[in-house]
């Protein structure tokens, strides 16, 4: 029994434990500890080499196995970390389903990450999809609606994946990961597989145009569930896409499938999907007035950066893409925590009904500050490093327009996270929030720990880049040249290095000098928020003296009409198509000769499969 077996067993044990004991506070504490234990076990696995689990069984003469490599290790660490913090954050949550769901999710994700062939990949994929439901239904009525939507999408995605795997089997006669690499297929077959597999997996990843389910499903449920779902859940799609690109259609093949002859390849198509996945959801986020939805939409947008980085498939780009999974997970987790602690104390996340909470919830404010700097990708937080890597790679590949698109995404992020922070923590404190308290320690401590992680991995990205380098070598890339403070890029087309330690050092000495100047200039006198300029008007506590609605009025005036082309029409079209199909099939089932039709369908499918 090796460490991987132990990890999977502990994870399964955690599920059982949560079923029995999550009702009591001690039980929940132990549960949190169990995630930490799993993390410790994870560190016993050597990320640099492949480890095969001794579990495995045979089906149709195919040995199904579980194994772990650097890539799985990297994703597993993020999964366990998110689960640990989410569980800690949820110590005071009584809902049993939450804790069971969380542990079930972790277990199924670990199984997915250690999948050793296509069949186990698919089984684990379905497990992950369905255990996600457990965490999504925890909110009010609206979360049920969102979950139903998710299920529809997930089934469709699962079917596509299933079809892809069946095709692989029928074309190569094997379900092992090396099936396709050992039996090269024709270009059109590769194309079909790419569409089915990448399409199916990207439903989970919420790439355009399959993104409409995600925001509501992730945001409207209970806090810890949102933290976990938002941080890592969708990235399982990314993992599966990487697996696909590794074992089925590599990027060279994608680059040789032309959608428009000589001009536009499948890879270009994917790059544009990723770029649009950055822009459109980010600007949808800008319009949200609910803090939770705003964050969840950003989650979709940030997925685009990861995808983009991986599609570059060079040293820097893929490092940036993978590193962003880690960085984004930490930032998104801390942001959701902060927002849900507001919800916990004030009962609302409506950005038009909050304000000035920094005076009452300073720790949550600090958490959000760290989180938004990271999410927007500004130094000194970790989000900057991964975005920097992606930018560098785009610039050295000469993709100016895609680079522009990703920067537009970043700018949109800055705009909307400032709106998030301003409308909730800054501005005028409302009368009804005068006596609000800071969130309980069980919520603030994990926030602070995460803030430290975000900062440390921002100043010393070498720590997380080591994990990324392992993952990169596991997928057959040259690992990025990193050192503790950043990266060197001697051998790429466009040179330029990054050393965050120096940048941060200088930044903070700048702050230090400014602080000395500032503090030497006479003592400040704090005044009440109502002692404020209002053109001579006398403010009192009943004045709502705050600007929060329609925050970017000037911008919205221009870009509002553009939202009409968001992908709602696509979803609408699919829905009416499905409705139509349902009407037809109902009439089929009402006929007596239904069996004949089914026979026809089955034979056609088999015929197609054999051909």
């Amino acid at each position: 029994m090796n460490a991987l077996d132990l990890l999977l067993l502990t994870s399964l044990g955690t599920v059982l434990f949560s079923v029995v004991f999550s009702a009591s506070l001690t039980g929940r504490m132990l549960l949190t500890m169990l995630y930490a234990v799993q993390t410790v076990i994870l560190f016993q696995i050597d990320a640099g080499t492949e480890m095969v689990s001794s579990f495995g069984f045979e089906i149709f003469n195919h040995a199904l196995g579980l194994s772990f490599n650097g890539l799985s290790w990297f994703f597993a660490l993020i999964t366990l970390g998110s689960a640990f913090f989410a569980a800690w954050y949820g110590l005071n949550q009584q809902q049993k389903l939450l804790h069971v769901g969380l542990s079930a999710n972790v277990f199924s994700m670990l199984v997915l990450l250690s999948a050793g062939d296509f069949l186990s990949l698919f089984i684990a994929w379905e497990l992950v999809s369905w255990s996600g439901v457990l965490l999504m239904v925890l909110g009010k009525q609206e979360s049920l609606v969102a979950t139903l939507k998710y299920i529809t999408y997930a089934i469709a995605g699962g079917m596509a994946v299933f079809a892809g795997i069946i095709l692989i089997y029928s074309w190569t006669g094997s379900l092992a990961f090396n099936a396709v690499t050992e039996n090269p297929l024709s270009l059109s077959q590769y194309g079909t597989l790419a569409i089915l597999l990448i399409g199916g997996f990207s439903v989970k990843m919420a790439l355009l145009p399959f993104h409409l389910w995600q925001a509501e499903a992730y945001a409207l449920t209970s806090g810890p569930a949102s933290v976990f779902l938002g941080a890592i859940s969708a990235r399982m799609g990314l993992f599966a896409i990487v697996i696909t690109m590794m074992h089925v259609v590599d990027l060279k093949t994608l680059d040789s499938i032309f959608l428009i002859p000589e001009l536009f390849t499948f890879r270009d198509f994917l790059i544009w999907v990723a770029a649009l996945s950055i822009i459109l959801p980010t600007y949808t986020a800008l319009r949200q007035n609910d803090a939770r939805l705003l964050l969840a939409w950003h989650g979709i947008g940030q997925g685009g950066y990861m995808m983009l980085g991986l599609l570059m498939y060079d040293q820097m780009g893929s490092a940036g893409g993978l590193l962003h999974v880690f960085n984004y997970a930490s930032c998104q987790a801390i942001l959701f925590m902060s927002v849900f602690s507001i919800l916990h104390r004030t009962g609302t996340t409506n950005l038009n009904q909050l304000g000035g909470l920094v005076a009452r919830m300073p720790l949550s404010f600090l958490a959000m500050l760290v989180g938004i700097i990271g999410l927007a990708g500004l130094p000194p937080m970790n989000g900057f490093v991964s975005k920097w890597l992606v930018y560098r790679s785009l610039l050295s590949d000469g993709m100016a327009i895609v680079f522009l698109a990703s920067v537009i995404g970043t700018l949109g992020t800055i705009l909307s996270v400032y709106k998030l922070m301003h409308n909730s923590f800054l501005g005028q404190l409302r009368v009804e929030h005068e006596h609000v308290k800071e969130a309980p320690w069980s919520m603030t401590v994990p926030m602070m720990l995460l803030a430290i992680i975000i900062f440390i991995t921002g100043v010393m990205p070498g720590i997380s880049l080591e994990l990324v380098a392992n993952a990169q070598s596991a997928i057959g890339l040259t690992p990025v040249d990193y050192h503790l403070g950043g990266v060197v890029s001697a051998n790429s087309a466009i040179s330029g290095d990054l050393d965050m330690i120096w940048v941060v050092l200088v930044l903070f000495s700048g702050f230090g000098i400014a602080a000395i100047l500032f503090l030497s200039a006479g003592k400040s006198r704090r005044v009440h928020q109502l002692d404020n300029y209002a053109g001579g008007h006398f403010l009192n506590a009943n004045n709502q003296y705050q600007y929060s609605d329609n925050f970017y009025a000037g911008l919205m005036h221009i870009i509002k009409p553009w939202y009409r082309y968001s992908f709602k029409w696509f979803e609408g079209a699919v829905v009416s198509f499905v409705n139509l199909a349902a009407v037809f099939s109902r009439s089929f089932f009402n006929q007596a000769h239904m069996l004949i039709w089914m026979l026809v369908v089955v034979t056609t499918v088999m015929a197609v499969a054999i051909i």
Partner: protein
């Protein structure tokens, strides 16, 4: 009626010039006062007809910027409050709020005869007559209306006073707040209050004298909700619990 000093002093007051022994701090103080006199941001509260003489004083003909004087927009940024004409009762409330929100050292200049003694609105029921009943005025520029030359020469006088460290009448407002508040209450009624905390501020500058508080401030405290700054706090402090 109570005695009040005429805040506009041109003669040298020996009590102001207390030099301490440290040369460096003297030089530094002098530098600071010099910079203060050469950089004046003014907030022009254009109440009456006098405002019309300010544009020529600011623009190409007389160009106040030569003296380092430039207009600013909000009371927080400004050093000089220019009242350019008659002040009606309603306006005066805003003027007082604006004055209280300005950052010390702050100077008030009353332009036009109307601010000195009511001028031709002397008989009006709706105007406040003497501006220095309600706030300490550093300088009056009389005339109906004073020409830009007069405005500029008045400002130069103020600069001179700042340079030698005599333009301290803003301290008077804190030292004798009760007196000014009394006059304000007589005009606006007993429920008069501004969303500022003058008594707290006077303690902040250690300008709190026995005359800062009195019967009028007691009247104020009866109905004013104290506006303490919102301190940042973690929810665990006991203060929160008992509220």
């Amino acid at each position: 009626m109570k005695e009040f000093p005429v805040p506009v002093q041109t003669a040298e007051d020996p009590s102001v010039k207390k030099q301490s022994g440290n040369i460096f701090s003297n030089v530094f103080d002098e530098l600071v006062r010099f910079a203060q006199s050469r950089s004046l941001f003014m907030l022009h509260y254009c109440t009456g007809c006098g405002a019309i003489e300010l544009p020529p004083a600011m623009t190409s003909r007389f160009d106040m910027e030569r003296l380092g004087i430039q207009p600013m927009v909000t009371p927080r940024q400004a050093d000089i409050l220019l009242i350019t004409g008659y002040v009606s009762v309603k306006t005066l409330k805003r003027v007082i709020l604006t004055y209280e929100q300005m950052n010390a050292p702050k100077y008030v200049i009353g332009i036009c005869s109307c601010t000195v003694n009511g001028g031709m609105y002397w008989q009006s029921y709706a105007t406040a007559k003497k501006l220095n009943d309600y706030m300490p005025v550093d300088l009056y520029i009389a005339g109906c209306m004073p020409r830009p030359e007069a405005v500029i020469s008045g400002l130069r006088q103020l600069m001179e006073k700042i340079k030698i460290g005599e333009a301290n009448s803003w301290q008077d407002y804190f030292k004798r707040y009760d007196y000014y508040l009394g006059n304000q209450q007589r005009l606006f009624g007993e429920t008069w209050q501004t969303p500022t905390d003058i008594i707290g501020e006077s303690k902040h500058y250690s300008l709190h004298t026995p005359e800062t508080e009195g019967e009028h401030t007691r009247l104020l405290e009866l109905h004013q909700r104290p506006l303490e700054p919102l301190e940042m706090r973690l929810g665990l402090s006991e203060k929160t619990e008992d509220r």
